[in-house]
């Protein structure tokens, strides 16, 4: 499972970074999305991988913490998802405004040949 997860994070961030460095603004948006998926998975994995363990402990009595997953990274992932979703949406709006104003989807607002 570790191999699969780390490979997924690696592939997602590699493709994200590659797309982020491309000149078209659509590619940049997709790159940012992929990167944020990779980061979310990374945060999640920082709580250690524990198959089949619930993150919420029962109230009262003796609780063996090794049988439960760390709930904190899961809460962090939720926050990170919300924030990156909102800011990516904002970025899309600016991107569309830029496309409308400059007539090109190049990130610099003009084609290189011009």
């Amino acid at each position: 499972m570790e191999i699969i997860l780390s490979a997924a994070i690696g592939i997602l961030s590699a493709s994200g970074i590659w797309l982020l460095l491309r000149p078209r603004s659509f590619q940049v948006v997709v790159g940012l999305c992929l990167l944020s998926y990779a980061v979310n998975l990374f945060i999640f994995s920082m709580g250690r991988l524990t198959p089949g363990a619930p993150p919420i402990m029962p109230k009262g009595g003796f609780v063996d913490p090794t049988r439960y997953a760390d709930p904190l990274p899961q809460a962090l992932v939720l926050t990170a998802i919300v924030i990156s979703f909102a800011t990516t949406a904002l970025f899309l709006v600016v991107m569309i405004a830029s496309r409308g104003m400059t007539g090109t989807d190049h990130v610099d607002g003009k084609e290189r040949s011009q």
Binding site: V28, V39, M46, S84, T87, L90, F91, A97, M101
Partner: protein, 546 residues
């Protein structure tokens, strides 16, 4: 009981006011302006009260003047804490001092150029105040995002092709930096199991050797995110374009936004890798010094190469960031408290001066027709009514002797940024240079190189700005611009504050010396959090319960 909740007021007040103003559209602009002004004035008063509290020790849990506020009454390190110490209180005052003039300036005209300026402005303040107050690194991320989201809106305020293009780059870079921030935070959590800065500072000294490389990697990735925000070379190529494209009052507020990055680096570096850092003490000091020096150099060359005042002002932001970053590195390597104190003094002065300069740029470059023509130019972008436009010329008094007033203000800003006496720029630089010469922790050559860069950067500022000044004030044939009293008053107010800081330099330096001392002595911060009782556990609270 109320007074202990004062710590959270700088976050709550702008948040409530900003959200309230969202409910009304921009026809209520006048009311919104006054509401915002009241909110910012309240923040200034509270910030001053908090400074007094940080100086004398709070009534809640005073560990040498550091007050802690447990959000939701969860005991540390399980809940999020707000921490008020001297540094945080000083930054709060600085934010409010810069926000009032910028707000008044925006009220003179800029706020009409797009919707919901005042709300965005208040949300920017939420983010700034929160980032200065929080004692939890993930919470710091959240406040950074609030601050950035508001700044995206403010940067695009007024629209136009230049702003949208600069905004596109600015948002993309900051989104990428935020992702790095998250990687750093989660790596630190993964290796240490805590997000609380004070708890982290406790754990660093006793961390097993095999975990340290991971912690260092996490903090380094986190620092890259802060360095992007602080405008450190080589992560600063977006900054001059974005700052230049921003509307004048927004540019003035952006002067403090780079300092949030500097603040975060200073706070975390001193807390985690100061003298109590065990085997990690001094981690990253060399890199900070080198990056700071190259940043100053790039700002220096940028000022000499710039043609416009806007680009020049943006590069002077880089110089001041680089200077404080470099000194942070020196202090981290054991350079002593004195130079850090000087750097903090310099930081306050340079933020206010660059703010004033950003506010001056637009009146200085204004063609004939003044603010009415400027508004007419962008009016159709937002469909502002013609009828409303007709009222615009009546909004304020035009000042007499425009050129003289503008020229004097500009000259004072230049004196400040170039570090010439008698303004605080000079005092700040002296206060940094003296301990740099005296220090023995690092090779003298490095300190001398830094001193040389400091003085050269002042010289370059003087050359570049004098050139612009001559072009604008002496060799200019265009008719005099019409400048409103409301636009020049904020600049004068900022300059008055600057000269006050200059005249009261001794008291101010005493405060920053105490701040630098508290930054070096991390025990009060690191252990104070755990000594803070929950409200429910306090004896006076127990009596209330049946």
């Amino acid at each position: 009981m109320i007074s202990e909740h004062l710590i959270i007021a700088p976050i709550l007040i702008p948040f409530v006011v900003g959200a309230l103003m969202l409910l009304y559209d921009d026809r209520q602009r006048q009311a919104k302006f006054w509401l915002s002004l009241i909110s910012v004035a309240a923040q200034l008063l509270i910030a001053v009260e908090l400074v007094v509290r940080a100086k004398t020790g709070g009534d809640i849990s005073d560990a040498e003047g550091i007050s802690f506020y447990l959000l939701g009454d969860w005991s540390a390190p399980f809940g999020i804490v707000l921490v008020l110490d001297r540094l945080a209180a000083m930054m709060l005052v600085l934010t409010a001092l810069l926000a009032i003039p910028s707000l008044v300036y925006a009220g003179a005209g800029w706020a009409r150029q797009g919707p919901h300026y005042y709300s965005l402005f208040q949300f920017l303040l939420v983010g700034l105040n929160g980032a200065f107050l929080t004692g939890d690194i993930f919470n710091l991320f959240v406040f950074f995002e609030i601050l950035l989201a508001a700044s995206y809106g403010l940067l695009l305020h007024g629209s136009g092709q230049l702003r949208v293009r600069a905004g596109l780059h600015y948002i993309a870079i900051n989104l990428a930096a935020s992702l790095l921030f998250l990687i750093g935070v989660s790596l630190i959590y993964g290796v240490s199991g805590t997000l609380n800065m004070a708890h982290l500072a406790n754990l660093v000294s006793s961390m097993p050797g095999e975990d340290r490389p991971l912690l260092h990697a996490g903090v380094a990735i986190l620092a890259v995110a802060f360095l992007v925000k602080a405008g450190s070379w080589p992560l600063n190529f977006w900054l001059p374009t974005a700052y230049m494209a921003a509307a004048a009052p927004v540019g003035a507020m952006f002067a403090i936004m780079t300092k949030v990055g500097v603040y975060a680096i200073l706070r975390l570096a001193m807390l985690l890798f100061g003298e109590t850092g065990g085997a990690s003490a001094g981690f990253g000091a060399g890199i900070l010094i080198v990056l700071g020096m190259i940043t100053v150099l790039s700002g220096l060359l940028g000022i000499l190469a710039s043609q416009g005042l806007g680009r020049m002002a943006a590069h002077s932001v880089l110089i001041s960031s680089g200077t404080v970053l470099g000194i942070t590195g020196f202090a981290l390597a054991g350079g002593g408290e004195a130079m850090l104190s000087g750097a903090l003094y310099y930081l306050v002065g340079s933020v206010l001066a660059t703010g004033a300069l950003f506010l001056l740029i637009e009146p200085m470059n204004r063609e004939d027709g003044g603010i009415a023509a400027m508004l007419a130019l962008t009016a159709d972008a937002y469909g502002i009514d013609e009828a409303e436009l007709d009222e615009v010329p009546d909004i304020g008094l035009a000042i007499p002797a425009t050129m003289t007033v503008l020229g004097l203000c500009f000259a004072l800003c230049v004196l400040m940024l170039a570090g010439l006496p008698p303004l605080p720029g000079f005092i700040g630089k002296i206060a940094m240079i003296q301990p740099l010469i005296a220090q023995t922790a690092l090779p003298a050559g490095l300190a001398w190189a830094f001193i040389a860069l400091l003085i050269l950067s002042g010289f370059a500022t003087l050359i570049g700005m004098a050139r612009i000044g001559i072009q604008t004030f002496w060799a200019n044939d265009v008719p005099l611009p019409r400048v409103l009293a409301l636009e020049i008053a904020p600049v004068i107010a900022l300059l008055v504050v600057l000269s006050l800081i200059g005249f009261r330099a001794e008291a101010m330096l005493r405060y920053t010396t105490g701040t630098a001392h508290a930054l070096h002595d991390t025990a009060a911060y690191a252990y104070g959090v755990f000594a803070t009782p929950r409200a429910a556990d306090r004896p006076d609270a127990a009596e209330d319960q049946p």
